[in-house]
Subunit: 340 residues, 2 copies
Amino acid sequence: MAPAMSAKVVSLPVKEPSLSPILSLTATAMNAVNAIILDRMQSEIPLIPALAGHLIAGGGKRMRPMLTLAGAELVGYQGTRHHKLAAAVEFIHTATLLHDDVVDGSETRRGKETANIVFGNPATVLVGDFLFARAFELMVEDGSLKVLKILSHASAVIAQGEVDQLTAQRRIETSEERYLHIIGAKTAALFAAASRISAVVAECSEEEERALDDYGRNLGIAFQLVDDAIDYDTGTEDMGKDRGDDFREGKMTLPVILAYARGDADERRFWQDAVAGFRVEDEDLAHATDLIRRHGAVEATRERARHFAERACDALSIFPDGSARRAMVDAARFAVSRGY
Amino acid sequence: MAPAMSAKVVSLPVKEPSLSPILSLTATAMNAVNAIILDRMQSEIPLIPALAGHLIAGGGKRMRPMLTLAGAELVGYQGTRHHKLAAAVEFIHTATLLHDDVVDGSETRRGKETANIVFGNPATVLVGDFLFARAFELMVEDGSLKVLKILSHASAVIAQGEVDQLTAQRRIETSEERYLHIIGAKTAALFAAASRISAVVAECSEEEERALDDYGRNLGIAFQLVDDAIDYDTGTEDMGKDRGDDFREGKMTLPVILAYARGDADERRFWQDAVAGFRVEDEDLAHATDLIRRHGAVEATRERARHFAERACDALSIFPDGSARRAMVDAARFAVSRGY
């Protein structure tokens, strides 16, 4: 009998999740999408491309159109219809960003002054409307009623989610369930739709459509959770987000909801005052951040995000393993590791 | 030879143009449209129907959906598809009104406080977005890509017209041509589309489609001209419009453009200051109104409106005479007589 082999422990390098695979996977198609975006944001009114370009050229990650492109790779779609639709998705997203910044009175985004600061609220609202209309024109050119249905419904859900968030603002009683419902609408609905339409153009089965929808939706929730965690995460590098904005606006994001739920009576009083808008100084933000840290609320929020990211990855299990699926899994895991 | 007959002069009563015929023509269908509007502005977020209802229930004239309904009567359409589409048209219009009031900072509309005053700018922007998305959902349910194309394009044109108007604001050099281009986009594009889609659902010829488009477009221009005339017309009853708003906002409407063009050097200096925003007192408005009156600029604006209204009426000449056509002609003539 041969002697028992002694197990040789090979220390494999831990693979950090990365966006690189999905960026490579979609790079060529993204060039086509960017060309459509640049072409279709033009107008005889010079203020329109100036304002739209301020945001569109401002270094966005193009996450949502990337989902459409990656989905098309995953299902082996050979055509180019998804380029126009990915541009439409980005236009819808850009329109909502423009309106969000007006609604929140935001002053910076991605480290730059917001369009509402540079061009004023009126032009920002109207150029948002233009991009939204242009998105529908692009979809109509493509001609799929199914895609139009998915994206018009997503647009209505997004607007409802934004109004719902407004209603919940400065309301300390907002629950985690309510919060998840809001981000499911305002953020995840477009992720889901962007991902799903790749299956529609490729004429996949209903099951594949649903799987891509599930991937996008769960990824969108994870993405928003991490975004909201970063706003209170002092340990993280600057992500171009204006830290403390959520706090000053009295937004009930999960770190606050959890810190409030886990806090004692004194802390709860602090949160009630802060969310109501009576504690907006830097020292209040510092205290809030400290409470959130002490109760592990950022880590818990990230843990929730990991849960949804894993659901996103598992939703892809009906598709054969391959470079596209691995890239999408990696992207989901990267989304929750952002800022570490 | 018989003696020459003496002509007997019969004094026919001069028939005042009236909205009554078109209201009767479309009354039953409008009930169906109103039911759809009420049903489809609902949402699980209570703020949405509250805010939308504030404006929608606020006594609007439903001019645009009325054009869709009247057009359907004109071409003898027997179905009900146009009900949903007329509701979509009204939703697009309502969305633009909500955003307009935010953009202009308007405080009253139709004699009531605006939604932005009652509910704030953020909710008003977002509910506008919701209604816009809902309009597209209604169109998708109908399923005509041709209608979707017409109304998505009109929506993009409207937004461009609004931005163009913003660009022209406080610019004394704005010409009548530029002004006509702006109102052709911001107002007449939706009138044209609303009218045209009745021919699309009825599967009319391209010629009939174009005729209805021409009717709506010219009527829309006439309508906006009269609206802008009323803003400076002291001889008119209050139309629920906030007289003087255009003046204080430095909007270059035709009465101002004509008074400036016809004014002497002193008057032109006044207009330059006023449009630039340095003359915003009640006495300045009174002086402006007086200059406009002295130069016959309101009457000239109304005369331009009559011209476009007649073009609207003549566009219908390809359709057989009948109660629908007469009602639409009457409506166009009524539009320019408003406020007399």
